[in-house]
């Protein structure tokens, strides 16, 4: 603040330089003005700005991104569930027993069919492969008490047009009886669940299939019990990874048997039994640990 120049009055020249972006004052001010907004403030302001515009856009984008995959997944899930349910619940028009052996044997097989068989779900399509062309079509007898069963029909003749016509007639009769089958199936399922522990063999009246009732054991010490009342029970040794017990119904199908679990969670998994010499070969459609070979105990 010394010297005459510094005390000179304000002038337009100095102002014009300043307004034009030049002059000593602006240069000195620029040199002295190095402060910058703190990074924390930057982050806060940018976050606020982003929050003001981003969320709706993100929501829309996310919705668009997931709409198609979710639709496909839902459709697939419903389709698989529907197909699985149809396969499980479609009642067989008749129980087809293989008649490649003697007619008398076939008749015996029919006579020994349990009540539950007629109302049981249809076997999977792949189970039909081994069927013989000679078939015995049996009308459902589920609603009748066992004592009221009619005497077994005569052994079926070789497949003829007459036999086929008779089969069609019986199929029509069966169609009339289908209406009540759903109710019976539900009752059966509840009954089967309640009967999860194996009843004593002495209480069962007749074996349902060609596999003898009894106890079998696998190399992994899994136990398979087949009972004469058309039920099975699989039990794992303590500490084994599958569920300790699996119970359900047996169903005869040609040379094989199907094991139908009671538990709805396992219902999608199919188990089949085949005889291999003295042993029974248990196979599953889901890679279950129960699968394997079981020998008589």
């Amino acid at each position: 603040m010394s010297g005459p120049e510094n005390r000179r009055p304000p002038d337009d020249h100095e102002l014009d330089e300043f307004l034009a972006g030049g002059g000593p004052h602006r240069a000195r001010y620029r040199a002295a003005s190095t402060e910058q907004a703190p990074a924390a403030l930057d982050a806060a302001v940018l976050a606020q700005a982003r929050a003001a515009v981003t969320p709706p856009a993100l929501r829309r984008r996310a919705a668009r991104r997931w709409r198609l995959p979710l639709s496909i997944a839902a459709t697939l899930l419903l389709s698989v569930g529907l197909v699985s349910r149809v396969q499980r619940e479609a009642p067989p028009p008749a129980i087809v027993a293989q008649a490649k052996s003697a007619p008398g044997e076939a008749a015996g097989l029919r006579a020994s069919a349990p009540d539950t068989l007629a109302a049981a779900p249809a076997p999977p399509a792949r189970a039909e492969a081994p069927r013989s062309e000679k078939r015995i079509v049996v009308a459902p007898q589920a609603a009748r008490p066992r004592e009221a069963l009619p005497p077994p029909p005569p052994p079926p003749p070789p497949a003829t047009a007459e036999a086929e016509a008779e089969a069609e007639a019986q199929g029509a009769a069966l169609a009339q009886a289908r209406a009540g089958q759903s109710e019976r199936r539900r009752a059966e399922a509840a009954q089967a669940r309640a009967a999860a522990p194996m009843p004593p063999a002495a209480q069962v009246p007749a074996p349902p299939s060609g596999f003898a009732a009894g106890h079998y054991r696998s190399a992994q010490d899994f136990e398979l019990q087949l009972s004469d009342d058309g039920r099975f029970r699989l039990a794992a040794p303590p500490g084994a990874s599958p569920p300790p017990v699996l119970t359900g119904r047996r169903r005869r199908e040609g040379d094989a048997e199907w094991l139908l679990p009671d538990d709805a969670a396992d219902a999608s998994c199919r188990y089949s039994l085949r005889r291999e010499g003295d042993a029974l070969d248990l196979q599953s459609s889901c890679g279950s640990a129960w699968a394997g070979r079981y020998w008589p105990r």
Binding site: M1, L15, R28, S33, A49, A57
Partner: protein, 212 residues
Amino acid sequence: MTESAAADFTATAGLADDAAMPPPPADDAAADALADEGLMLRYAGGDMAAFETLYRRHKDALWRYFLRHGCDEATAGELFQDVWARLIGARATYRPQARFATWLYTLAQHRLIDHWRAQRPHDDLDAHEPALAAPEQATPAARAGQAEQAGRLRRAIAALPAEQRSAFLLQAEGGLTLEEIARQQGVGRETVKSRLRYALAKLRQELADVWP
């Protein structure tokens, strides 16, 4: 200043036609080339990158604007965030009828006045200079060399009468024209020129020993 006042600011100084409806930027470089007004419009449409460019252009100057008015860092930070929050909140109603910088510093000036009135409601605004002149970096090290000169300049600016200081900072930091400053201060263009002339003269006198 209220939100609606911020949104309703409708000065009409010097806008290029293309600033009102800019072409969409293809990338950050294109965004950098846009005028402030175009960036603000793009941000109003949801373009966060446009806001980041806009913010980067003005944040430090606005920060210094509050510091030069004598605010400590805590107060400056509060006012700084308030101004940007009002700007963000008014994005939907933003119309580029004035330069973006004019709008931004109008928000800042009004927020500053609100702050002063809240602090000392019965004072004249010009009575702030002595309290605002206190330097923050008055450490021994800061007194040496260029840092000392910068500190003296900041103190000299803080010692200016509020209207002169505001006119000086609006021009030096915000780049506002005489007309824009006059509109914001509610005075005539010649009054602003006079305030700036006196402000420059006082700074020259205060710093004559180091900046002859």
